[in-house]
């Protein structure tokens, strides 16, 4: 445990180095959020669409923003670079499990992301008015769902980064992942807006757990029983991906060549 705590701490500290980048990033996401809010406000000004009213959409976008910011700033670039460059060789001679080590690093970077979410959500609420938090059980379920989102997103990012062993290229993989993630998670638009069959696929995919699930639970658009099912799906994917990623890692290692010294 001490080893993984140390790794988490190391990332937590290095994160400070990038505070300027993060500040710039903060500006960008803030502008993005404001733009999305403005657009939906116009669309939903007259009447609700697919059952979403403007006040609901505002909350949805805020939750989506929070969910999108968690596990987004650290790890994947560094890990991909280390695989492509061969520095992963040095990770292999450490007495830690590679996957757990990367997860620990992700956890280490969380604090700065949470801080960022706090600031942006706080400012937005101050400007556009507060939100109604759901009742006890739904709130608890929301919290669980947000917590599950951390390993879930980590595993999706981690698994796709492992593809670098095969593709020898990270940017393509990252773009593909972002496209799929944005569409199927409900980060761009709620899944209810997708064509029926696609919405169904998305709902059962691991991606729904990245935005849609916590957002729907928070909004009360699903009752607690349905919410439990969605969270169970999240949990199921976390377990499945955790072991799936291990298989991938093992297969990837056999392909590892590490050019140069």
């Amino acid at each position: 445990m001490r080893a993984y705590r140390a790794l988490a701490r190391a990332t937590a500290r290095s994160a400070l180095t990038y505070r300027l980048n993060l500040l710039l990033g903060l500006g960008t996401v803030f502008v993005q959020l404001v733009a999305l809010l403005a657009v939906w406000r116009v669309i939903l000004a007259q009447s609700s669409v697919n059952g979403f009213t403007w006040p609901q959409m505002r909350v949805y976008l805020l939750v989506a923003f929070a969910a999108g910011t968690v596990v987004s700033a650290f790890g994947d670039f560094r890990m991909a670079f280390r695989i492509l460059d061969g520095d992963v060789a040095l990770d292999l001679v450490k007495p830690v499990d590679y996957q757990k080590a990367r997860f620990a690093e992700t956890i280490g970077g969380l604090w700065i992301e949470v801080l960022l979410i706090g600031v942006v959500v706080g400012v937005t609420l101050a400007v556009t008015g507060g939100v109604r938090t759901p009742a006890g059980p739904a709130l608890a379920l929301f919290v669980v769902s947000m917590l599950l989102l951390v390993p879930l997103k980590f595993l999706i990012v981690y698994g796709s980064t492992l593809l670098c062993f095969w593709t020898q290229n990270f940017i393509g993989v990252q773009w593909a992942r972002l496209a799929v993630m944005n569409l199927l998670s409900g980060a761009l638009i709620p899944l209810a807006y997708l064509p029926g069959w696609l919405a169904t696929v998305a709902q059962w995919s691991p991606f729904a757990g990245l935005t849609s699930t916590p957002a729907l639970i928070f909004l009360g658009r699903v009752d607690v029983r349905h919410g439990l099912t969605l969270v169970a799906v999240q949990l199921g994917w976390v377990l499945l991906l955790w072991f799936g990623a291990r298989l991938m890692w093992r297969a990837g290692l056999r392909r590892l060549t590490v050019n140069g010294g």
Binding site: R2, A3, R5, A6, L7, R9, A10, R13, S14, T17, Y18, G86, D87, A89, L90, L92, V93, K94, P95, V96, D97, L253, R254, L256, T257, V258, G260, G261
Partner: protein
Amino acid sequence: MPIVEARALTKVFRRPDKGPGLAGSVKHLFARRFQDKVAVDHIDLSIEAGEAVAYVGPNGAGKSTTVKLLSGILVPTEGEVRIDGLHPQRDRMTVAHRIGVLFGQRTQLWWDLPVRESLAVLRDLYGVDHATYRKRLARFDEVLELGEILPVIGRKLSLGQRMRADLAAALIHGPRVVYLDEPTIGLDLAVKDRVREFFRSIRDEGTTVMLTSHDLADIEGFCRRLVIIDEGRIIFDGDLEAVKDRFARERILHVETARPVPLETLRASLPGAQVTVEESEVRYAVRFDRFIMTAGQAVTALAGLTDLVDFRVDEPSIEDVIRRVYSGELVLDETGPRR
């Protein structure tokens, strides 16, 4: 039982055989063709605990690949590796505690953290207790002078500083075996000397060291065993001194005499040696085989002829010998005992 053991160790790299440019890449997608490169070719090697081994060979010989195989980073195409009897992939965690690896061109320091914190993370990774950690750090500091670099952020280190910090990083957990792959690459002479002194100090503490270098000055005075690899094959494995004895028997005595002496006179008094005039007519070079005469005998013979002002004996370095092996000028016919 040897601490490092490799049997018939082989690594074949498959390189895509692609035409140039995008067209080549697209064509490769449909007609996949590969070129096999045998980087390490059926190597047998065993290293006893406490041994210091120099692993040398020209660029591209397969040294780094061997190190990666011996540390479990790469999976062998054929053959196997045992570290302390353990399988480096199957027992990765246990093996990791017992080995330390340094790749001269890579760093294991955290780029954004001061060296002190990087080392502390490694301490926790390996579960080293604080007292031991402090003791080790203090000992490394004696030779590597870490003090001045501990507060420096990883990415701000100069190459020499980085290498010193990386050496400490590779050894902070007290590994039983260390592989040092090109640990002096790119360093200036002063740092090289310090780093070489460090190698000797860890060797003297009983750590098994495998030192890979193309800078042969690194191995002089460091180890007794020499392994030479060329094109993936071990072409020599034996005693370093024995190589020197056999192939570096020539000595050169440089003398300066008080007065010029005719060459014929000198040659007559030194049968079996070659005498030549050097830059001035009172300086001579005497080449002799040290098994035929000693430097003392040569000096005595000359002193009987004239007054000597100064003299100096040069021995060829192991560097010269190995360079002759690389160039094919010298063939080391028998590999030493395969322990």
